[in-house]
């Protein structure tokens, strides 16, 4: 069995920042990712980030990704790409299908003193009639195609969902040369930031609020060729007679994301159900789960955005390194307090407040579950 001090699962913003912090403190870190290149979803975010200068506002995600890769290399982080973590087992064992691509690979077990899971999230689907038809895909999938693979997923796209993902990806599909035939939103108003919505509106994309997709119709080749949308009433029920057909070969679904938590469930970490984030693992202010030595960061803890993922990753990396003795308790605490303050600043405003509350709820639930154990 291979031995590593810290294994980080996922080389996205949370995983990379955790690896950089821990390796910077002196720990020997192995970071594992199933993709061919590290950076997670940062490399598809070609728009400029919001926030304060401490959070690199005005910088594109893709450039933040490049800076982080350089830093990880500088700090000596070991990186396994094209490698899938298939399980976490008692005794801090990490099962990995190791390989540079999906066609070759051996199964190896790595024993880690500390494990940091930053596995990200997966896209939600909307199950309208025909949702499995080729041409229907996640909004993130469409974004990956144009911004990472530089291939258009289709010529004419209907976007379902007007959160920031739906809005930003609609714009980026247009930047790549696709036509956006319509933006469809079930709620009576746009979900994401007005600044992103305004770009879509200025480009002349028809926006259908209080509408959803009723079905898609394939052509002879099996691909989407028409999308039928329908109006919704205040109770989100279809209004008969309001169907409308849109010609399109692609549907992108931007209906939110859910945390990727299977590895933590395998380890029997304590979970809670939170109305904002769904079923998520409990963690404390060190980002440590109910399993000692197992930390989490980023979307795995509840879906937010790249900046909060970066900050949580830093906390997890500092905590794991400190637990191994690479940082004094005082130094680790001072640095973590600073980061928690920056996180609180990121979780302000109408969009951030409910995430701040959710995070506080989860920290409290962790304390309660520990208190419960102590009382036994």
């Amino acid at each position: 069995m291979l031995e590593r001090e810290i294994v980080v699962v996922g080389a996205g913003p949370a995983g990379l920042s955790a690896a950089i912090e821990a390796a910077g403190a002196g720990a020997r870190v192995l970071c594992i990712d199933l993709n061919m290149r590290p950076g997670g979803q940062l490399f598809k975010q070609i728009h400029k980030f919001f926030g304060s200068s401490a959070h690199r506002s005005g910088t594109r995600g893709i450039d933040i990704g490049r800076m982080m890769l350089d830093e990880a290399e500088d700090k000596g982080v070991e990186l396994w790409l094209g490698s899938t973590v298939i399980g976490l087992f008692p005794g801090n064992k990490v099962g990995v299908r190791h390989g540079q691509d999906g066609t070759a690979g051996a199964f190896v077990t790595v024993h880690a003193q500390k494990i940091i899971v930053a596995a990200g999230a997966s896209e939600n689907v909307v199950r309208f009639d025909g949702w499995t038809t080729p041409g229907v895909m996640g909004a993130g999938a469409a974004q990956t195609m144009v911004n990472v693979n530089h291939v258009k997923p289709g010529r004419r796209v209907v976007m379902l969902g007007s959160g920031n993902v739906g809005l930003i990806v609609s714009y980026q599909l247009m930047q790549a040369g696709c036509e956006v035939a319509a933006l469809v939103e079930a709620a009576p108003k746009i979900g994401g930031y007005a600044v992103h919505a305004a770009k879509i509106a200025r480009a002349g994309v028809p926006i259908y609020t209080s509408h959803t997709i009723k079905r898609v119709v394939p052509d002879e080749s099996g691909r989407v060729c028409r999308v039928v949308i329908v109006g919704l009433d205040d109770a989100f029920q279809e209004i008969p007679g309001t169907e409308r057909e849109i010609e399109a070969d692609t549907v992108a679904i931007g209906a939110g994301l859910k945390p990727t938590t299977e590895l933590l469930a395998l380890l029997k970490c304590d979970f809670t159900f939170h109305p904002v984030w769904g079923r998520v693992p409990l963690h404390n202010r060190d980002m440590e789960t109910s399993q000692e030595g197992v930390y989490i960061a980023g979307d795995t803890t509840g879906v937010e955005e790249a900046n909060t993922a970066l900050e949580e990753g830093r906390i997890a990396g500092i905590s794991a390194a400190a637990a191994l003795g690479y940082l004094s308790e005082d130094e680790a605490k001072a640095r973590k307090d600073e980061i928690w303050a920056r996180l609180a600043a990121l979780r302000m405003g109408p969009f951030g407040e409910k995430r701040e509350q959710a995070k506080q709820d989860i920290l409290s639930a962790f304390d309660e579950s520990r208190g419960g154990l102590a009382a036994v």
């Binding site: 199933l34 997966s122 993130g140 997923p153």
Partner: protein
């Protein structure tokens, strides 16, 4: 039909790998070495990667990041390869997968 992104306002979309030939269902297809197999096929307008086990329904690109397995194909004789996270190499033989991709299935 070419679906590649060109002249992008933010991105440099010049391919980084060399142009190679792969075989897709018996036909030669040009692709860039190192790009995702799925992307190479999509660039040529090929969107169906497999047919389902029970109802033989077509499936193609859905998540694009190795999670959903809708883009699984037979690569060099090996079934269930996630083409969205598997890079192209010169001479690869790719087949549309029926069901579980076993002989006779």
């Amino acid at each position: 039909m070419c679906m590649r992104v060109e002249n992008h306002v933010v991105l440099d979309t010049a391919p980084s790998g060399r142009l190679v030939t792969i075989t897709v269902d018996g036909q030669p297809v040009e692709a860039f070495e190192g790009e995702a197999i799925l992307a190479a096929l999509l660039a040529k307008g090929i969107i169906i990667n497999r047919y389902t086990v029970k109802k033989q329904e077509p499936r193609g690109l859905f998540c694009g990041i190795g999670q959903c397995t809708d883009c699984a194909m037979i690569v060099d004789g090996k079934p269930n390869v996630r083409t969205c996270i598997t890079p192209v190499r010169a001479g690869m033989v790719i087949e549309t997968q029926n069901g579980l991709g076993k002989a006779g299935a």
